[in-house]
Structure formats: structure tokens, C-alpha cells
């Protein structure tokens, strides 16, 4: 990236803005002499806290999706420490390694600092610094390198769907989504199809909601394909691990790898990848065959129970049947089903929250939900819970209808039952299917540009080579981000957002056993020329709203008629894109909680609010807090009744059968696990010190784990002559990547594993650049058949020592 400001100048800026009063001079100076590229020179913002004057600002962490409550300690305008905020029932006075390292995200010298427009070739990373107005102008009218919205919209005759909008998860995603809605495109893609689409939907169609687990009271927990010791979720991680090792909860861990969760479990079952469905069906068989189910619950709240029972028993999903498929001993399956039933309803088959790994994941989630419900552990203490939620007052948005805007760019299947690549199109869409359709020229109309907010498609989805091709083909790519990610390198216009510690975000309500409302308050003013996305949207819409309306006037007959009838001013009011961004975030937040007395004030000063907080909240011991008295907790809000439209657990979904999807969870032979000799199944996953690619450039986290290593079975590694830290090449049919080896017995001989998020190729990321291996260069673009979610554990790879 060619920029007009040198690193030295940047640092002068940083020093002036952020180092007053901190003992940070030495480490920052090391940057000034060429930065972190020098071996042994460590660039980070060293923030020893002082004992002088300071103040705390209540904020919410954004280092991952959990939104744990934090108190930022500010000394002389510098954030010197992030501490947990004890007031939040969700995070209960904890902040993990990433939460503590948020300071390094704020003071990362590699941050995007000012708007830029592309001057080199697409993907080359050559930009020039511009003013905000120049950046908005380029989006509207283009440059000699790329077309602007005016040209594209005019040529596409006001088909607003010619622009794709995509976003990563976050509290301000809402703000960006309002821009998408006002703009009038039908093409929205978010993280769901490369994240938890199948689990939320599987539970959604079966129980009517994606429930939480009451791990604080459960006596028996099966955690299968979820790794809460490393993929931290609050309060689940805290609740479960305080109670394992015979201290209240028995934990069964089912995972192909020996994870940190396995290390804390009472029993670890090494399952073959992608066969969890057979495991659950066999558990269900034992329950039904031995009459261990909760008949009262089933009588009241089940639809299709008899059909499902018949299916499971007739198909003979016995533990003996499951043993060769899963690799789990039949005897263990009998024991677990019986123990689970004995502990029910205080027994949890943990729903989990992760990417789709296998093509049968939707059916797996349905089978898990039904197994849980068979034992009555729904909407009850120690089981799965729906909880309660404090309502927020919505605010005015804008969703105009444009006559020429086409429907979402999907293609119906020839049999008319579903779509060409999956059965159902969810709100977040299927990223992979959409990308591939775009590349293969199968779009029903031209999509020519995209807005990308806090999202890194280059790193986040399988087959990076195809994503790069897509970004190159897009004529106008606008990215809004905090870091010069691999995706930002393909942008035409780069709009720098401030980090989470520099902005107030939309207030959010957190449902559960102990519901509360929480807010992310701005800790310090945005550094450099960065802005919160709210202000970016305001500036951008002010620039483009009127000119785009002029194009609509040209092609949209309904608008022409409306103008004739009501006059231009009145008509434009319904198409004025600036409307959702007229108020400040603080004003909107105030409005959202107006009905709760004192809430706005409480949120501003303390970050967390719920009714009777003053009366209920107590610190009981050094590490123990009461948020609600036991009797006031919302363990059960519906007497066990599922949230489906029928109010019943749905075992047999006829509507899915008509789309070619199994209406009840059944096992199919093609789900079986097998790896050709000489190859390995590639597994990917999470880590307690990194959040995907979002934290890969964080100096403090990198200090804990400098790069990712590939796990390979020790005996296999010995045979192949691979020793610890040897570099190996991992290759598949779509690409290859290199990283160092970690021979271990924690993984099976026919599998390998490394964590996701490493190996970025943006040269502007001092620490992340070509650091470790990138799983998405190797993972093939398989999708599951229901929602088109990426199936990430279906790629076989070869390993070669280099």
C-alpha cells in the first residue's frame, strides 16, 4: 500500500495523541525505526497503569462476538487497562485474554487511519490518502480506475440490487444494515452461512428458538463438537468449568481432537469427524427402546413423536450400529443415554455455536434438539432455557421500494422445489453459493459492486482463490474497516472506522435467565481521521442520496407517478437515505430505553441496566456476584412450551420434505467418514487467544501464540520424518498453504488440525503478514444442502515436509 504518510509521521501522531503520561515511549520508539519487521523488536503499546488521576468508562468488548462488559481505565486520555465490569450478568466480572488485549487493537500502528482510494491495479494495495469528501465523491462518481454508483445505477437502470452489501457480526452491523435497507438492494450476505446458520436454524425449526443452556445448574452435560474452554462463550464457559471434575456437573466431551475442553471433562469420546448424527440417533434409540423418555412432556409438547420413534427404532439405530460409524464404543453410548435420562431434566445436550462442519449439520442439530426434548429438559432449570428479554423501543428506519430493484440474485432449481444450490434462502444468504454463482456467470442480473462492513471475505470463507477472483471482478468495492485486511487490499474506496473503544454503539438487550440491557460507551475520541460507522453512513448518504434519486426518477415509473401526485419534495422524503442517520447514537440509545426509568443514565455511567438492579445486585464473595435473587431468575417462562408456531417440538417437518430435505433426522451412508490412504481430513477451529482473522495482528495475543501450528499425529509424523516446528505444506484440490508442525497424540492418525485466521497476505499487517497457515486457501467450497452453509470439515489434504 503506497501511502503519503510515513510510519514515522504516524508515530508522531500516536505519540501526541496517546502516549501522554504512559510509560510507553520505549516500545513505541522501536516502531519508529522500521517497526515490527525487525526480529526481536517488539512493537506494542505498553500500558502499565499508573496510580494517578484516572477515570473508568463502561464499555462492551468487541474482540469477539460475546460482548462482555468492560471498564476502560483512562489516564490522561490514554486507555491503560481494560478491566471486567462486574455488573453484567452475562459476563459476570470476567475478561479473557483477547478482552484484555483490546488496548493493542486500539493502538495498533497498522490501523487504517484515513480514507483512501485505489490508484494501482485491483488487489495490488496501492492507495492514496484522500479527504472524507473525496472518498464519498469517488463512491458516487468514480475515478479513472473504477466507476462510481452514478454510472453503475444509470447503466443498470436503477436496479438497486446491482450492489451487494455484506457485513460481519457486531453491534454496529445494525447501523450498516439500515443503509442497505434504505439503499434498496436485495443482496445481503452476512457471516451466518460461514458461521452458525445450521445450528440456529436447526433448533429454530424444531424448538422455535435457538435456546441457551443453563450450565450453572445442569448436572449432566454432553458437549459434542463444542469447545468451550477454547471457543469462549459467556456465561457458558465460566458456568461449566467451575463445576466439572465432580463438583456439580458431569461433563462428557465428544470431539475428534483432545481439546482443552476434553482435558476438563470426565469422559472424552474421540468421535470420527462428521458422525455426531449417528451418535445422537443411537442415544435416541437407547432412550426410546428402554422407555427413558419423559412421556408427560411428550404428550403435551410433541408433534410427530410416533413417526420419529418408529423411524429410529425401525432403522435400528442401535449403539452397536453406531460403533463402527462413530468410533465410539456401544457400551459408552448405552451408559451416556442412561445417565443423561437419570439426570434429566437437569441434563443438557449442549447446542453449541459454531460453523457448519459437515453436510448433515442441520439434521444433527434437529436430532440434538429432539433428544434434549425427549427428556423434558426444555425451558427448565438445568436444561435448555428460553429465558426472558427486556424490550427496547425501536427507532425509525427507511425501507423504500424501488420499482426497478430486482429480487435477491438466486436461481430457482429446475424442479421448482428449492434453489439451484440449496433448499432454503435464509436472511444472511449463502456466501459461497452466491460467490460461485457470481463467478460462474449464473446471476439473474448483473451485480457490479459491493459495500463491505467489518467483514473479511478473503479470510473468512473457504477457497480464498475464488474470493479474490470475485473481488477483482467487482467494479466498485467499498470497504469499511479498522484494519488493512486482505479484503481491504481489493477495495476501490477504503473508509476507516474507529475501533470499538472509540465509539458508542446501538444499545443491546441480552435475554436469558438473568436479562439485562448493555451499552458500549465511547471511551476516547476516534484517533486519526477514523469515524464510527454511524457518522460514515451519515456522510455517505448525504453525498449520494439526491444524485441517486435523480437516477431513480429517470427509470422508476412509480416514483414519476408519485411526484406528479404529491410533488417532488414529499416523494423524496420517502427515499431520503439520510433519514436513518439523522440522530446521534447517544440520542437513539436514549430513545431505545426511554420507558425504563433511569436506564439511560445508568447505562451511560455503568454500562448495564435491568429493573431493580440496585436491589438485586450484590457482591457475595471475591469471585461471586448476585444479579437476580434465585427466585426471580427466568429459568422457565413458558412452562416448557416450545416456541414453534404450533407450540410443539417438531419431529417431522413435511414442508422440508417437499424441498427434498429429510423431514426427520435419518442417517445416510454418504455421511460416513473415510479418508483415502495417504491423505488426511483437515479440521479447523477456534482458539481462546484469537478470534478468527480479526485479532491476527494483535501484538499482545501474538505474544501468547506467535503463529498457528498444524496438529499431526505423533506416530504418523515420526514415520514421515516430521519433527516439531518443521515447515510442512498442506495441499488440497483448491490450493496450498505452509505452516509449522506440532506432532501430538491429541489427534487421530488420519486427521490434521490448525486454527483458523492466520496466514494473511496483506503487507500492511506487520504481525499477521504471511504468519502461519491459512485454512481457507485449502478448504474446498463444499456447502450443506439446506441453507448453503459452508461445510468446513469435508476436505482431505496431503502433507509434505518442505
Amino acid at each position: 500500500m503506497e501511502v503519503e504518510i510515513s510510519r514515522r509521521k504516524f508515530l508522531q501522531g500516536t505519540v501526541a495523541m496517546s502516549v501522554v503520561g504512559a510509560t510507553a515511549a520505549t516500545s513505541l520508539l522501536s516502531n519508529e525505526h522500521g517497526g515490527g519487521a525487525k526480529p526481536g523488536v517488539v512493537s506494542f503499546h505498553n500500558t502499565k497503569t499508573g496510580t494517578g488521576k484516572s477515570h473508568d468508562v463502561a464499555t462492551l468488548c468487541e474482540m469477539c462476538v460475546n460482548k462482555c462488559a468492560a471498564l476502560a481505565r483512562v489516564e490522561n486520555g490514554v486507555v491503560t487497562k481494560l478491566n471486567p465490569n462486574p455488573l453484567f450478568p452475562k459476563s459476570k466480572n470476567m475478561l479473557c485474554a483477547r478482552g484484555n488485549a483490546g488496548i493493542q487493537a486500539l493502538y495498533d500502528p497498522d490501523r487504517l487511519k484515513y480514507p483512501m482510494i485505489r490508484i494501482g491495479e485491483k488487489g495490488e494495495g496501492k492507495f492514496k490518502r484522500v479527504t472524507w469528501d473525496e472518498a464519498y465523491e469517488a463512491i458516487l462518481n468514480g475515478t479513472d480506475k473504477f466507476p462510481g454508483l452514478s454510472k453503475i445505477m444509470d447503466e443498470e437502470q436503477d436496479n438497486r440490487s446491482t450492489m451487494l452489501f455484506c457485513a460481519g457480526e457486531g453491534m454496529a452491523e445494525h447501523t450498516f444494515k439500515q443503509f442497505y435497507q434504505a439503499f434498496g438492494s436485495a443482496n445481503w450476505l452476512n457471516h451466518a452461512s460461514i458461521c452458525l446458520q445450521t445450528v440456529t436454524s436447526g433448533y429454530g425449526v424444531t424448538l422455535g428458538s435457538y435456546p441457551q443452556a443453563d450450565l450453572d445448574n445442569a448436572e449432566y452435560v454432553i458437549m459434542a463438537g463444542a469447545n468451550r474452554a477454547e471457543a469462549i462463550v459467556t456465561p457458558d464457559t465460566m458456568d461449566i468449568f467451575k463445576r466439572t471434575k465432580r463438583r456439580g456437573a458431569k461433563l462428557i466431551c465428544v470431539d475428534p481432537r483432545f481439546t482443552n475442553t476434553a482435558a476438563k471433562s470426565d469422559k472424552w469420546l474421540a468421535i470420527k469427524p462428521g458422525t455426531d448424527l449417528a451418535f445422537v440417533l443411537a442415544l435416541t434409540y437407547v432412550t426410546l427402546n428402554e422407555n427413558l423418555q419423559d412421556n408427560d412432556y411428550i404428550k403435551k409438547y410433541f408433534n410427530g413423536y410416533e413417526e420419529y420413534k418408529k423411524s429410529v427404532l425401525d432403522n435400528k439405530y442401535t449403539p452397536e450400529w453406531a460403533e463402527p460409524i462413530t468410533g465410539i464404543k456401544a457400551e459408552d453410548i448405552y451408559t451416556i443415554a442412561r445417565e443423561f435420562a437419570a439426570a434429566a431434566p437437569k441434563a443438557v445436550y449442549y447446542p453449541g455455536r459454531r460453523s457448519t462442519f459437515a453436510k448433515n449439520d442441520f439434521q444433527l442439530r434437529r436430532a440434538m434438539a429432539i433428544f434434549q426434548a425427549l427428556h423434558g429438559g426444555i425451558d427448565t432449570e438445568g436444561g435448555l432455557i428460553f429465558g426472558s428479554k427486556l424490550a427496547l423501543q425501536p427507532h425509525e428506519g427507511l425501507q423504500p421500494l424501488y420499482e426497478k430493484a430486482q429480487a435477491r440474485a438466486v436461481v430457482k432449481s429446475t424442479d421448482g422445489k428449492g434453489y439451484d444450490d440449496c433448499a432454503v434462502i435464509s436472511g444472511g444468504g449463502s456466501w459461497i453459493a452466491w460467490r460461485n454463482r457470481f463467478l460462474e456467470g449464473k446471476m439473474p442480473y448483473k451485480v457490479r459492486g459491493m459495500f463491505c462492513y467489518k467483514h473479511n471475505p478473503m479470510m473468512n470463507m473457504p477457497n480464498s482463490a475464488k474470493t479474490a477472483e470475485m473481488l477483482k471482478k467487482m467494479e466498485l468495492v467499498v470497504t469499511i474497516d479498522t484494519m488493512p485486511s486482505d479484503t481491504v487490499m481489493y477495495a476501490d474506496v477504503v473508509l476507516p472506522e474507529c475501533t470499538y473503544l472509540e465509539r458508542t454503539d446501538p444499545v443491546k438487550t441480552f435475554g436469558g435467565v438473568e436479562p439485562s440491557i448493555a451499552v458500549r460507551n465511547k471511551v476516547i475520541d476516534p484517533m486519526f481521521e477514523t469515524k464510527p460507522v454511524m457518522e460514515i453512513m451519515k456522510g455517505l448518504t448525504t453525498k449520494i442520496s439526491k444524485p441517486l434519486f435523480e437516477i431513480s426518477k429517470k427509470y422508476d415509473e412509480e416514483i414519476q407517478d408519485a411526484i406528479e401526485e404529491d410533488g417532488e419534495e414529499e416523494t423524496y422524503a420517502e427515499f431520503d437515505l439520510t433519514l436513518p442517520f439523522r440522530h446521534t447514537q447517544e440520542e437513539l440509545n436514549h430513545h431505545a430505553v426511554a420507558k425504563y426509568e433511569g436506564a439511560a443514565e445508568q447505562l451511560h455511567h455503568h454500562g448495564i441496566f435491568y429493573p431493580k438492579q440496585d436491589e438485586y445486585y450484590k457482591q457475595l464473595a471475591i469471585n461471586k456476584f448476585q444479579y437476580y435473587p434465585e427466585k426471580k431468575k427466568y429459568y422457565s417462562t413458558r412452562g416448557g412450551k416450545p416456541k414453534t408456531p404450533s407450540g410443539k417440538v417438531e419431529c417431522n417437518l413435511a414442508s422440508f420434505a417437499s424441498k427434498g430435505i429429510d423431514p426427520m433426522p435419518v442417517w445416510r451412508d454418504e455421511y460416513a467418514f473415510s479418508v483415502p490412504s495417504g491423505k488426511f481430513r483437515l479440521l479447523t477451529g477456534r482458539h481462546a487467544q484469537f478470534t478468527q482473522s480479526g485479532t491476527s495482528n494483535n501484538a499482545m495475543l501474538r505474544d501468547l501464540m506467535p503463529e498457528n501450528f498444524i496438529w499431526i499425529n505423533k506416530r504418523v509424523a515420526d514415520k514421515k520424518g516430521i519433527k516439531f516446528a518443521d515447515t510442512v505444506e498442506v495441499s488440497s484440490s483448491v490450493g496450498k498453504t505452509q505452516l509449522k508442525a506440532y506432532p501430538t497424540e491429541k489427534i487421530a492418525p488420519d486427521q490434521v488440525f490448525f486454527i483458523h485466521g492466520f496466514g494473511e497476505e496483506s503487507e500492511e499487517l506487520t504481525w499477521a503478514y504471511k504468519n502461519g497457515g491459512n485454512d481457507n486457501k485449502v478448504i474446498e467450497d463444499n456447502i450443506e444442502p439446506v441453507y448453503g452453509a459452508a461445510a468446513m470439515h469435508e476436505t482431505n489434504v496431503e502433507i509434505r515436509k518442505v
Binding site: I103, F241, F258, T744, E745, A748
Partner: protein
């Protein structure tokens, strides 16, 4: 005067390293794998996949044990290592000559060299930062997700740590050496 100590419910530790980062951010510790005041230790798993010994993979949060009979203090030729009135073992960087006797004497490998001052550094129970500000927790204790740590005054019979040590079984690391650590591992 207090006599500070720490009890560790180590079986709850998930090796997430929140404590390590909290310590570095609070106390301004240098980067680098060898620049840790506190850490979580664990051994490589025993057995062959899938027959692994779960107990072999336990996590042990560790750090300076703030011994009542500290070998590091005994060997220091310049009296740079000393006990504070609160029972915390400290290093005075003005007196430290980096002879490294203390580093060799410490049975817990709890000391390292701070390259900025070129002296030996170690855990201070956040004495200069949090305790000096009047706070009653260390950074590691406060931030821990699974609430492993209880910090407090061992001389106060009403303190939570005293109560916990009265009512729960616990052990010290390398107790046979007679160093009398003030870190207690709860079983």
C-alpha cells in the same frame, strides 16, 4: 499489616491465558515468551490416541510463590530481594546487579530479566499498580473467566482466603523444600 497470599482453584483453569495478558497490560511487562510474571503450565498428553490420560493434561497456573522462607532472598548478595511489610517478595532494581543468583535459587523459576531496567523482575501481587491505588484484587484474579484465584490477607481470620484454607484441602508446590509458599493449590 497484611500478609498477602493467593489460593488457586486450579482445577477450574482452562488455560485461556486471560491472567497472563491482564498481568502484562496492568504492569507494563515486556513482550516475549520468557518475559512472564505469571503463566499456566501444562505437560504434553500421555498415552496414544484415542487412549489418552486426561489427568496428564492438567493446567497449573503458576508464578512467584511469595515464600516466607524465600531462597531468592537468602542468596541475594546486595539485598535487592527483600520482603515487604505485607509479606510480598520484591526486587529493588536500584540494588539489583543482575548476578542472577536468585534466578538459579528460585525452585519455581519465577524470575526473569526485564531488559529495560536490566534487572530481575517478578510478580509483585500488583503492589505498584492495583494495591497502590487501594484496590483489593490483583489483575489476574479480577479478570479470570473461571474464577480460579482468591487473593487476600492470610493474617485476617475473616478473609475469604483464610476461610477457604481452613475449609478446603490444599497443597503447596515443592513443599518438601521448606520454602513456605504463600500460594495454595486447592484440591
Amino acid at each position: 499489616m497484611a500478609r498477602y497470599g493467593m489460593a488457586l482453584d486450579y482445577k477450574s483453569c482452562i488455560n485461556c491465558k486471560a491472567c497472563e495478558v491482564a498481568c502484562k497490560e496492568e504492569n507494563g511487562i515486556l513482550m516475549g515468551a520468557d518475559k512472564h510474571r505469571i503463566w499456566v503450565g501444562n505437560g504434553e498428553i500421555e498415552g496414544q490416541y484415542p487412549l489418552l490420560d486426561i489427568t496428564s493434561n492438567a493446567f497449573y497456573p503458576s508464578q512467584c510463590q511469595h515464600c516466607d522462607e524465600a531462597p531468592c532472598e537468602e542468596v541475594c548478595p546486595t539485598h535487592a530481594t527483600y520482603y515487604t511489610e505485607d509479606g510480598i517478595v520484591r526486587v529493588d532494581p536500584e540494588k539489583c546487579i543482575l548476578c542472577s543468583y536468585c534466578m538459579n535459587a528460585c525452585p519455581y523459576d519465577a524470575r526473569y530479566v526485564d531488559d529495560r531496567t536490566v534487572t530481575v523482575d517478578k510478580c509483585t501481587f500488583c503492589a505498584d499498580t492495583r494495591l497502590a491505588r487501594g484496590e483489593t484484587t490483583t489483575a489476574c484474579q479480577n479478570t479470570c473467566p473461571t474464577k480460579v484465584r482468591i487473593f487476600g490477607d492470610l493474617d485476617d481470620p475473616n478473609s475469604e482466603i483464610s476461610e477457604v484454607l481452613r475449609t478446603r484441602e490444599h497443597f503447596s508446590l515443592k513443599a518438601n523444600l521448606g520454602t513456605k509458599p504463600k500460594l495454595f493449590y486447592l484440591t
